[in-house]
């Protein structure tokens, strides 16, 4: 009975998804019928794979959509849909971030970079015995050639970075490359650290004869990863990769062994319903869906699973902190007490219910509660957070931190009929360590202190007496887009508080964020961290005052346009800290996070929530929450490190 009910609910969800997505013209899903509820999920259908053996082939969807330039693999110029298999199978970077394990995995590099004392020179040891997929050896000459080529042509994305930083690059020997830098830069090597993209190395033997490297298509792609290009659709719907016969000459093979799938297909589905139907018919092993899509698949399929086997099911260790960004260059959001008032007007339990049905992990600071971050940053900051005090005026103060906030999410989720473990460690991992109190009365005092008032209907007026209107900018993808979800929840909270708030979804949100044409945005409240390791330079540096531009100009730093001399000093301190000195790096990072909490240029809410489903008909041993041996996505670079651990079921 319960199963039938779940099936019907799943089909209804499927129907709603398809219709809603179609109206939005991008994402969709698919409808319901009693016949469909009885459709044989256990039936093994034709794979539609042509000559490829289905049980040796893994099929995943392309996260970033239909490949617009299918014949072009020149990743170094513009945007090239690198998750079609380039970054995740066929290319090996020098290092990769694995946010599930918190480790930095050396791929083409053989170890850490070695900087001199003032960070103006470094050497990088390279892995020996690696070959390109065409059999040629990979050496330091390839790295030198890549850097020199990128510096020689302005059309390359990384041109200006290398021109500004590199004085010279040379091969000490086949396995060591040395850089002399123009300026001190203790994080120079991170340009080669893959976190959903990095500077990749070019095979010198193929590129050195190319006259116009910017327009070179690099087709077929040749990389040092364990897979090579098999074929692709000229319309950009699919790309097929084949395991190299000499996979043991790739860093993946050397580190983790032989990849199991013989072929990997990355396929584009124009709507979510098609993805879901493909998984229900075992024609797609991995699909990225929306929250409702996840429910539909789990309700309909006996062979599919989510990242977590129980509620909240979702991937909650993606290294991005979602939330809200204030435009601190625009009044009244240039006032930290107004920003704090808006934060305290949010009931986080209600907010999380609206945004992600209570499935995310809270973070009170501007990095997500995942990987090593709770241990290294959030937990050590707890005593400071508990003592952090706001001045409400007239000698009144308020301590906003609430270590029990995640418990309110737990109660919400239990109230929705979900079973939640009582184990505090499990709850901490799933719901975070703490957040802030819901205190509209305190928010009111902060606003009154700053000249705000309410009209006869209880609606807030600005200090000049005009009505306070606020819009929250986001993209238009409501199904999977966390900016839109954060805005929707925030608008509800602020309306309840008496602010005339509206959601402002726009296809031009990227541009509007960059030029500062918004009040509040669903943009990440801080630059995403690496996702592993102790270094928060990537997060803090985006708040550097040197990158802030006037409204109307494209800002180079964070869209909040917030900066302070104190934060500049922290960034400078971090620049002069050896990133391999973990404790020193963590200490400076915490200093920066404290400044961000004090000023609150953006409200961190929950860590990015991902919705993926794995079909276990052909492949098992997926890196779920119970066994997170690597990060769970097929679109991230370390997917190639997952392939040796997948187990074929042998299903026909």
């Amino acid at each position: 009975m319960r199963r039938t009910w779940r099936g019907v609910v799943g089909l209804l969800l499927l129907a709603a998804l398809m219709l809603a997505g179609c109206a939005a013209a991008e994402e969709a899903a698919e409808p319901a019928a009693e016949e469909a509820a009885a459709a044989p999920a256990e039936e093994l259908p034709t794979s539609g794979l042509g000559d490829l053996p289905r049980n040796e082939t893994l099929i995943a969807d392309i996260l970033t959509g239909r490949v617009g330039s299918p014949t072009n693999f020149n990743e170094w110029v513009g945007w090239k849909w690198r998750d079609r298999g380039m970054q995740n199978l066929a290319n090996e970077p020098l290092w990769s971030v694995d946010f599930a394990t918190g480790e930095i995995i050396p791929g083409l590099a053989a170890g850490d970079p070695d900087y001199n004392e003032d960070f103006t020179a470094l050497t990088i040891p390279l892995r020996q015995g690696v070959t390109w997929s065409d059999g040629q050896p990979f050496t330091a000459a390839d790295v030198v050639f890549t850097v020199e080529t990128l510096m020689a042509h302005e059309g390359f994305n990384a041109n200006s970075f290398f021109v500004e930083n590199v004085a010279s690059v040379s091969a000490v020997d086949d396995a060591t490359v040395a850089f002399e830098l123009k300026i001190s830069n203790s994080r120079f090597h991170t340009t080669f650290l893959d976190r959903w993209g990095a500077t990749w190395i070019m095979p010198k033997h193929l590129w050195e004869t190319v006259e116009d490297p910017v327009n070179f298509e690099f087709n077929p792609f040749v990389g040092t990863g364990p897979y090579k290009l098999h074929s692709f659709d000229p319309s950009g719907f699919w790309t097929i990769w084949e395991k190299r016969a000499d996979w043991d000459k790739s860093p993946t093979g050397m580190l983790f062994g032989e990849p199991k799938p013989r072929y990997v297909v990355f396929q584009y589905f124009a709507n979510e319903g098609a993805k879901i139907l493909a998984q229900l018919t075992h024609a797609a092993d991995v699909v990225n869906v929306s929250s409702d899509g996840l429910k539909a698949v789990l309700a309909q399929s006996d062979s599919s699973r989510a990242y977590q086997l129980e509620f909240p099911y979702v991937v909650n260790n993606d290294p991005a902190q979602t939330g809200l960004t204030f435009n601190t260059a625009r009044a009244p959001y240039d006032n930290r007490e107004v920003r704090w008032a808006l934060l305290l007007a949010i009931d986080i339990a209600e907010y999380m219910g609206l945004a992600v049905d209570g499935t995310g992990a809270l973070s009170p600071v501007h990095i997500p509660s995942l990987s090593n971050y709770p241990r290294d940053f959030i937990a050590p900051m707890e005593s400071w957070l508990q003592e952090f005090t706001l001045d409400l005026g007239n000698g009144e103060t308020f301590k906003p931190y609430d270590p029990d906030a995640p418990q309110r999410i737990v109660e919400y989720a239990r109230g929705r009929g979900n079973e939640i473990s009582d184990d505090p460690a499990v709850q901490d991992q799933a719901f975070g360590l703490g957040w802030y109190k819901y205190a509209p009365d305190v928010a009111e005092k902060l606003l009154v202190k700053n000249g705000f008032s309410r009209d006869g209907n209880g609606n807030w007026l600005l200090p000049d007496g005009s009505p306070w209107k606020l819009s929250c900018l986001s993209g238009t993808d409501v199904a999977t887009g966390h900016p839109a979800r954060n805005c929707a929840a925030a608008v509800q909270a602020w309306k309840k508080f008496g602010v005339d708030a509206t959601a402002y979804p726009s296809e031009a949100s990227a541009n509007l964020n960059a030029i500062g044409d918004f009040d509040v945005s669903g943009n990440w409240p801080a630059q995403e961290p690496w996702g592993a390791g102790p270094d928060l330079y990537r997060v803090l540096n985006y708040w550097n005052s040197e990158y802030v531009k006037p409204l109307g100009d494209t800002t180079n730093g964070h869209p909040s346009r917030w900066s302070t001399p104190e934060m500049d000093a922290v960034i400078e301190k971090l620049r002069n800290t050896d990133p391999t000195d973990s404790q020193a790096t963590i200490d400076v990072g915490i200093e920066g996070l404290k400044l961000a909490v004090t000023e609150m240029p953006g409200i961190p809410t929950y860590g990015y929530v991902g919705f993926i489903t794995w079909d276990q008909t052909y492949w098992t041993n997926w890196p779920g929450a119970e066994n997170p041996y690597t990060q769970p996505y097929t679109h991230w670079g370390p997917f190639k490190y997952m392939t040796p651990f997948l187990e074929p079921t042998g299903a026909p």
Partner: protein, 334 residues
């Protein structure tokens, strides 16, 4: 007289509409807040890439130069015409440096194959059946067909398409869930590939054909019923003219005039693609190409597709105008 008063004005109108249409398409996307350079930078940033903040200004300058967006709007406009007259539609910004022409020519055969076939079939069958149903409007089969058309026509296309997909691709599994051809199969002129494409195209084609036929059927039936009530048909019947001649020469021929105009416009619109069909069936074509070009601010690609569309629609209208005198002799004696 015919040439001076009918043909020449239409040829002038043809050229003017193309010039104005293309000019509008050049300027309108540039008024949108979507900037292709920023969109590319944002895409690189949003995907987690490390873009050193200090390097962003230079990247923006480089992309602006690469995309040919330097200089004033006027300078860009004249450069655009210079390129267009040489047959060069430029490169796609978002899919840089892929030439726009290559993107269009890759997608166009799929769209043409699907929409040309279904549009012509739906027009032919819808008008033929609608014509007879209109003339014999009191027959039971005419009422029955009219009822079917009345049920189908108001149905939102995407609901109809999803219903077909669910029924035939998931429940009975006769047709594939998505795509224009089997995964891994390369386009070729082999019979196997043609069969594969036909199999994949059936559901999208059927969905367009059925709803299109219902529309043509209903409009033709109404027009025929109107023409049937005209006095010249009444007199023809009184004069004992053969019924088959009345149907074909007096009624359907006259009723076809607005339908031919409609066909011309429908054929022209083919070049804009069938967005919803492409999304529902994950079918390759111009629709999603244009949609993605709009949301990414890819001016060159928007212009490339709409130039094709403008030329196609105006040419279709011109051809219809030129064919009219053959169907309607009154125009010849204007």
């Amino acid at each position: 007289m015919f040439v001076r008063r009918y043909l020449i004005p239409r040829l002038i109108q043809y050229v003017l509409v193309i010039l104005l249409g293309i000019t509008a398409v050049f300027f309108i996307p540039r008024l949108l807040p979507n900037d292709p350079v920023m969109r590319t930078v944002a895409e690189l940033r949003a995907r987690g890439s490390t873009l050193e903040p200090g390097a962003v200004d230079k990247i923006i300058a480089d992309l602006t130069e690469l995309y040919g967006l330097e200089g004033s709007m006027g300078e860009q406009y004249w450069a655009f015409w210079g390129r267009l007259l040489r047959g060069d539609l430029g490169v796609s910004f978002f899919q840089f440096p892929t030439p726009v022409l290559r993107l269009i020519t890759t997608a166009l055969p799929w769209t043409l194959g699907l929409l040309l076939t279904t549009t012509l079939l739906a027009w032919g069958i819808g008008n033929l059946v609608g014509g007879f149903a209109g003339y014999y409007s009191n027959r039971r089969w005419s009422h029955l067909l009219d009822t079917v058309a009345m049920v189908l026509r108001p149905m939102p296309y995407y609901i109809f398409a999803f219903a077909l997909l669910l029924l035939f691709a998931y429940v009975v599994r006769w047709f594939p869930v998505s795509g224009g051809a089997t995964l891994g199969r390369q386009p070729s002129l082999s019979w196997a590939f043609v069969q594969d494409v036909l199999w994949h195209s059936f559901l999208p084609a059927f969905s367009i054909f059925i709803l299109g036929t219902a529309v043509w059927f209903q409009t033709m039936k109404l027009v025929v019923q109107n023409v049937n009530g005209e006095s010249f048909v009444f007199y023809a019947k009184l004069s004992g003219v053969q019924e088959s001649k009345i149907v074909s020469r007096y009624v359907i021929r006259n009723a076809l005039l607005p339908q031919i105009t409609g066909l011309g416009l429908s054929l022209g619109l083919i070049f804009s693609g069938a967005l919803i069909t492409e999304i529902v069936f994950s079918y390759p074509g111009l629709g999603t190409l244009l949609y993605n070009a709009i949301i990414t601010g890819d001016y060159n690609l928007i212009m490339g597709i709409t130039v094709f569309s403008i030329v196609a629609i105006t040419t279709a209208v011109l051809i219809v105008d030129l064919l009219y005198p053959f169907f309607d002799p009154r125009i010849r004696y204007m």
